[in-house]
């Protein structure tokens, strides 16, 4: 019994990191129709910057703030000065973000070297919690709580605030929103920055579990896309559900079919694409 509980917790904690990544991907696509391939880089760079801050100051809190805010700024600059030029031109946008993925990937190797690194955990989470005969790392429990808190916050922002209402208006009908006097162009920059912020947050928070290493950008982005495909592009609910589903599938896949670990993620994805091409919560 405890075995199942622990394995489920493993899956949920990984799912939460995927949610942080996928929610930004989904928000950006929902509003701007940009398939942002640089998202993996935001995750990786956030992790590296966070790591540098931890080494400098020893504070994970500071690492989270500096890491994710600096990447948010990077995202805002990218949107304002580059992506804006190709508004609603899918191919140039995709190629541009794909190019940046490679540039950032190599840049990270130049700056931080090729060796995989691990982010130290904050001292308060260094202990493990005991469940019956099992020990469970408290940091993972914290990640689960943190992920749900972020999900709640995003939900409230989208449904309960004026900015959220503007955002939803922009998603539904950009032209009418503009005609009503909503500053959609500012909204674009804000949402892109928010997406980058969330990805970098995932990179820093995931550092103590996943480590920060060259190639992580491509790896997590692949999983991020699977999450978005399962959950549905443009839907926050979908990102949360998709993140949890992929996290759990990945975990139990490794436990029961270790030889087919990737199959257990991609087979359900193919199934969902066949039955519901827009994803679980996506709109046609």
């Amino acid at each position: 019994m405890m075995f199942w509980v622990i394995q489920t917790l493993n899956g949920i904690s990984f799912g939460m990191l995927l949610f942080l990544l996928a929610s930004g991907l989904s928000l950006i696509y929902g509003l701007m129709k940009i398939l942002n391939l640089t998202h993996g880089s935001f995750y990786l760079l956030g992790g590296y910057i966070g790591l540098a801050v931890v080494h400098l100051t020893g504070s994970l809190l500071l690492a989270v703030l500096v890491g994710s805010l600096s990447i948010a700024l990077l995202g805002a600059l990218m949107e304002r000065f580059l992506l804006r030029r190709f508004h609603l031109q899918e191919l140039p946008q995709t190629l541009l973000t794909f190019g940046f993925l490679f540039i950032f990937s190599d840049l990270a190797i130049v700056i931080w070297g090729g060796n995989p690194q691990t982010m130290p955990k904050p001292a308060m989470f260094s202990e493990s919690v005991q469940f019956g005969a099992f020990f469970y790392p408290s940091y993972r429990l914290f990640i689960i709580g943190f992920g749900f808190a972020i999900a709640g916050l995003l939900w409230w922002m989208q449904e309960g605030t004026r900015v959220g209402a503007m955002l939803r208006a922009g998603v539904d009908d950009e032209e009418t929103a503009r005609a009503l006097g909503i500053n959609v162009s500012l909204l674009f920059t804000m949402v892109f920055a928010l997406g980058a912020f969330l990805a970098a947050l995932g990179g820093v928070m995931g550092g103590p579990i996943m480590g920060v290493y060259p190639g992580a950008d491509f790896e997590v982005m692949l999983l991020g896309f699977v999450v978005v495909i399962i959950g549905g592009l443009g839907s926050l609910k979908g990102a949360l559900a998709g993140g949890l589903i992929v996290g759990l599938l990945d975990n139990f896949g490794k436990v029961f079919f270790p030889e087919f670990a990737l199959f257990t993620i991609f087979a359900p994805m193919a199934l969902i694409l066949a039955v519901r091409p827009a994803g679980l919560f996506g709109r046609e």
Partner: protein
């Protein structure tokens, strides 16, 4: 006066004759390792240790200058083979002292055999001295069967009966698994897991181990993955339940810095133990530290000793490396007493060396280090069990 001139001329003539005819030309050695990419943390230090060994000879052996030519394999077989071809065909090296990555070793082996190019590698691939064996290929590192059999036998002697195995989904780990099964019997290996190289999250595997009721866990994964799994092993409290036995260089000195303090007690059995108290080891460790400001581990040791073997063989043939047949015959017979004892090659050109049982402990300076336990003398590749 005339006789003085005659003597002078004679001496001068003798002087030029006494030197080998090719003495002006340096001996060129191709040194290719992964200097970038995921295995650069092992490749660069190994190259540095090779350089140290030649520096100790003032880069001159049997009157000939030594020239080391570096190439970066990046850890990929296609790149590695291209660079080896460049060293052999463009740079015309006399011999290769290169590589540690299995997949590159497998790709390079047929080429060097065809070129009759002497190649001393530190690639643990068992096939290099089996299916791919060649008079020109020397494997100066224990094969996967060799180190895993030794590790399994040590654990069995310690009283382990039921064991759990986790290793990379890669040839050296699969071969290690075969060796563990052979020593313990298949029915006593409770379960085996093969995550991919570079897996960052071991949570599902660790929770499964926890329910397995094994006496201990063997791990066959190296480099940056080693500290990562130990870290998580400790977080899941498994170190309080089952001892962890790392196969081969799992607790290599350069990795200990990244391991958590709770790694104390992690076991392994391998050919290098950093704290061994011999004059040769002291010279090696201090030499490396003064040059590169880091503690050398098993990769550095392997590179350093492989270079020493080559140096001795060049001395034995008086520097005439152009005669490749003479060189490989000499290298096959070389015995060198190094930091860990005597090393040599067996009849199939695999490494023969002393193994030590290692336990991670906290040193007097507070840093983790390996405690050297029992010495297992002159371990050979078990060709009979694994043909």
């Amino acid at each position: 006066m005339r006789s003085l001139i005659a003597v002078t001329v004679a001496l001068a003539a003798f002087g030029t004759l006494a030197k080998p005819a090719f003495s002006q030309e340096p001996i060129k050695i191709g040194v290719m390792f992964p200097y970038t990419g995921p295995i650069s943390a092992q490749g660069r230090p190994e190259r540095d240790a090779i350089k140290q060994a030649f520096d100790e000879e003032n880069n001159t052996i049997a009157g000939r200058k030594i020239e080391l030519l570096y190439e970066d394999s990046t850890g990929r077989p296609d790149t590695g083979l291209t660079k080896i071809k460049a060293l052999v065909e463009r740079d015309k090296v006399h011999l290769l002292l290169s590589e540690l990555v299995s997949s590159i070793g497998a790709a390079v082996a047929p080429y060097v055999n065809e070129q009759k190019m002497p190649w001393i590698s530190t690639v643990a691939l068992a096939s290099l001295t089996r299916a791919q064996k060649s008079p020109y290929i020397f494997r100066f590192v224990p094969s996967s069967y060799q180190y895993a059999t030794t590790a399994a036998e040590v654990a069995k002697k310690m009283g382990w009966k039921k064991v759990y195995f986790i290793g990379w989904n890669a040839p050296p780990s699969r071969e290690s698994y075969e060796a563990v099964k052979k020593v313990f019997g298949e029915e006593n290996v409770v379960d085996a897991m093969f995550p991919n190289v570079g897996t960052s999250d071991y949570a599902p595997y660790l929770t499964k181990m926890d329910t397995s009721k094994a006496d201990g866990v063997f791990t066959a994964m190296w480099g940056a993955d080693a500290p990562r799994i130990v870290q998580q092993y400790v977080e899941y409290g498994l170190n309080k339940k089952m001892p962890l036995f790392g196969i081969a260089s799992f607790t290599s000195e350069e990795l200990l810095g990244d391991m958590p303090a709770a790694s104390v007690g992690v076991l392994s059995a391998y050919t290098y133990c950093g704290t061994l108290d011999t004059a040769e080891n002291k010279k090696f460790v201090e030499g490396y530290q003064s040059r590169y400001k880091a503690v050398p581990g098993s990769y550095q040791y392997m590179g350093y000793m492989a270079a020493k073997m080559v140096i001795q063989a060049i001395k034995d043939i008086n520097g005439k490396v152009e005669d490749r047949e003479a060189f490989i015959a000499a290298l096959g017979k070389v015995k060198v007493k190094g930091p860990m004892g005597e090393t040599s090659f067996d009849e199939q050109h695999g490494m023969v060396a002393d193994f030590y049982v290692l336990t991670v402990e906290k040193g007097s300076n507070g840093q983790l280090q390996n405690r050297c336990g029992e010495r297992i003398p002159q371990v050979k590749d078990p060709y009979a069990s694994f043909p």
